[in-house]
């Protein structure tokens, strides 16, 4: 199971990073979502992998799973969900406004030269 979880996190992260580097808003947002899935599973794993064990005290139960990562994951899910909604709205606004979905500065506008080179480097 360790191998399965670890490789799942690895593949999700790799795919997420690849999509983020595409620098168009839709793939980038998809990539961000994959990255947040990866980090959520990673947080679960940080409390050690246990199968079928309850996180809260119960009668007659010997082994428990660590409850704290579950609380952390819950918070992380809520936050990343909200953030994804925000970025979708802002990206949509930027796309509809300028008819261009590139994430980096592509304007020929000379004024933003420094950050363009920075972002491409």
């Amino acid at each position: 199971m360790e191998l399965l979880v670890a490789s799942a996190i690895g593949i999700l992260t790799a795919a997420g990073l690849y999509l983020v580097l595409r620098l168009r808003t839709f793939p980038v947002i998809m990539g961000m979502s994959l990255l947040t899935y990866a980090v959520n599973v990673f947080l679960f794993a940080s409390g050690r992998l246990t199968v079928g064990a309850p996180p809260i005290l119960q009668k007659g139960v010997e082994t428990y799973t660590d409850p704290l990562p579950q609380a952390l994951v819950l918070t992380a899910i809520v936050i990343s969900f909200g953030m994804t909604a925000v970025i979708v709205m802002i990206a949509l606004g930027a796309y509809l406004g300028s008819d261009d979905d590139h994430v980096d500065d592509i304007d020929e506008d000379d004024t933003s030269g420094t950050s363009v080179q920075g972002d491409r480097a």
Binding site: F42, A45, G60, D66, A76, I79, S80, A94, G97, T114
Partner: protein, 544 residues
């Protein structure tokens, strides 16, 4: 238990919904509530700072749950200092936003502003790494709204970059927290500090990775090269008062580095020794150089100021990465200085923008009110570059002095002094183009000069500059306070024992519980009468 510590978080959290719900269509009421809120924040923050100034560490346990499991807020010298700085900056920025009418160019400026303050205050006060993450998100989500306040395509596109970069940063933060939790089984900073000491020398890989990941996250927030790419375009495109408030946000990253790498991973901790200093110092020196070269290369005033912020963060990081008491004291002195100076510069940028349509650094007809604006730019530029007589110079001297006996002294001196020269040329060129050459360019036919900025705008900028002057005059006292703050940071014993040993709900003896309650439950509750902390340890040990 005194509830004062949580007020800087709770007060904006109450005011913001009030502004949205009750005063939605009344900009006057919004302004009054917002200003009153920030002023009360200053009073509260000053009270907290006064309380902490004698070295007292105040602990606040939310719902009275004890430390490793409960959420705690901790007020010591460092956090109260940052809270006070935030509140003071917020007042002047708010006055400017009102004076210039920025707050009325989009919806919900004041509500977002309060939420932003809530996040910043919380990040400074929390004693728990996961809560630091949560407060980072609170301040970030408010900053996303503020960043695109008043809209416009350019701003929206810069906003997309800003949000995406910070989302990546947040994801990285979660990875760092996950690895720290996997290694130690806790996220409370004081508890973490104790457990980091217990890690054996043969199993350091995990904790070292976690420490570096965390450093990367904070370096993103602090805009340390090579993680600074989000800063120039977002600060330049953000509305001026928002950019001025953002001057404190890079300091949140610096604060987090100081906090975590003096308490959790102190310089003398064997498993992570030499790690952050070795990584951070070169990056800091490069940021300083790149920032100041950017100042010289900038073709617009807002980019110039944004790069000056990167440079000044580089300066702060140079001082921090020495990881000595004198270094941290110098860093703290410089943090206060550069926050005020960067805030003032962003506001002055807006005074120039109000007078003409663009911020290009080329000769154009003078802006209205040019004399006063030029004088203010002159003062703020002197402060930012760090030439005598203002506090930037004092701060830089302190940093040079702190680096004196260390191995890296040659590099630090060469780059700090070289970067100062470059930025001096950059600021002088910008100022002379903007204000002196402008005098020789006549207005085009039929173009009227823009109306003067309002008096309140000048009051706000003047207030920040006045504070800088005061900060210079009382540099001795201020530095003495920073030294004591730094001394407190380098002796984290009282902080740790205060957080870990203060009893809460869990540690009180349970009165009417029958001890032989026939099953595992009873066993657990008898454990509970011991220190909750020990309980945490045994659980974690089982987990391993």
């Amino acid at each position: 238990m005194s509830h004062w510590i949580i007020l800087p978080v709770v007060l904006p959290a109450i005011l913001a919904p009030f502004i949205v719900l009750a005063a939605r269509y009344h900009i006057g009421i919004q302004r009054a509530v917002s200003v009153a809120g920030v002023m009360s924040l200053i009073v509260i923050a000053a009270g907290l700072a006064w309380q902490a100034s004698d070295g007292t560490i105040t602990l606040y346990q939310l719902s009275d749950w004890a430390a490793p499991f409960g959420i705690v807020l901790v007020a010591d010298r460092l956090s109260t200092l940052m809270v006070l700085l935030t509140a003071v900056l917020a007042l002047f920025v708010l006055l400017y936003a009102i004076g210039s009418g920025w707050d009325n160019r989009g919806r919900h400026f004041h509500a977002l502003y309060q939420f932003q303050l809530m996040g910043i205050m919380g990040a400074f006060l929390t004693g728990d790494l996961f809560n630091l993450f949560v407060f980072f998100e609170v301040l970030l989500i408010a900053s996303y709204g503020l960043m695109i306040h008043a809209g416009g395509n350019v701003r929206l596109r810069a906003g997309v970059q800003y949000v995406l970069f910070n989302l990546l940063g947040s994801t990285l933060f979660l990875f760092a927290l996950g690895s720290i939790y996997a290694e130690t089984g806790t996220l409370n900073m004081a508890d973490l500090a104790e457990r980091a000491q217990m890690i054996g020398a043969d199993s350091t890989a995990g904790i070292r990775i976690a420490a570096v990941l965390l450093l990367l996250v904070f370096a993103i927030k602090a805009a340390v090269v090579p993680l600074h790419f989000w800063l120039p375009s977002s600060y330049a495109e953000a509305p001026a008062p928002v950019a001025a408030l953002f001057a404190i946000m890079t300091k949140v990253g610096a604060y987090a580095i100081i906090r975590v790498y003096t308490i959790v991973f102190p310089p003398d901790l064997a498993v992570t020794a030499d790690l952050h200093g070795a990584l951070l110092l070169p990056a800091a020196l490069v940021s300083l150089a790149i920032g100041m070269i950017g100042v010289l290369a900038a073709r617009k005033l807002d980019r110039l100021v944004a790069f000056a912020v990167i440079g000044s963060m580089g300066m702060v990081m140079v001082a921090i990465s020495l990881f000595t008491q004198a270094g941290i004291a110098a860093a703290l002195y410089y943090i206060v200085h550069s926050t005020l100076a960067a805030g003032a510069l962003f506001l002055i940028t807006d005074l120039v923008r109000a007078g003409r349509d663009n911020l290009d650094l080329r000769a154009q007809p003078p802006v209205s009110g040019a004399a006063l604006t030029a004088a203010m730019f002159f003062v703020a530029g002197i402060a930012m570059v760090g030439v005598p007589p203002l506090s930037g110079f004092v701060g830089k001297l302190l940093i040079l002095d702190a680096s004196f006996g260390t191995e890296s002294v040659v590099w630090v001196w060469a780059i700090v002094l070289g970067a100062s020269l470059i930025s001096l040329v950059g600021f002088a060129r910008a100022g002379s183009t903007l204000f002196w050459k402008a005098e020789s360019v006549p207005y085009a036919e039929g173009v009227e000069p823009a109306p003067h900025p309002s008096g309140l705008s000048y009051v706000a900028v003047g207030g920040l500059l006045g504070l800088l002057v005061l900060y210079t005059v009382f540099a001795g006292k201020a530095h003495e306070y920073m030294s004591r703050t730094s001394a407190q940071l380098f002796a984290p014993g009282p902080y740790i024992s205060k957080v870990v040993n203060t009893p809460g709900k869990l540690t009180r003896p349970k009165p009417a519980k029958v001890p032989n309650a026939e099953d595992g439950q009873g066993d657990e509750s008898s454990h509970g009468t011991d220190a909750a902390h020990d309980d945490g340890h045994t659980n974690a040990e089982e987990g391993h």
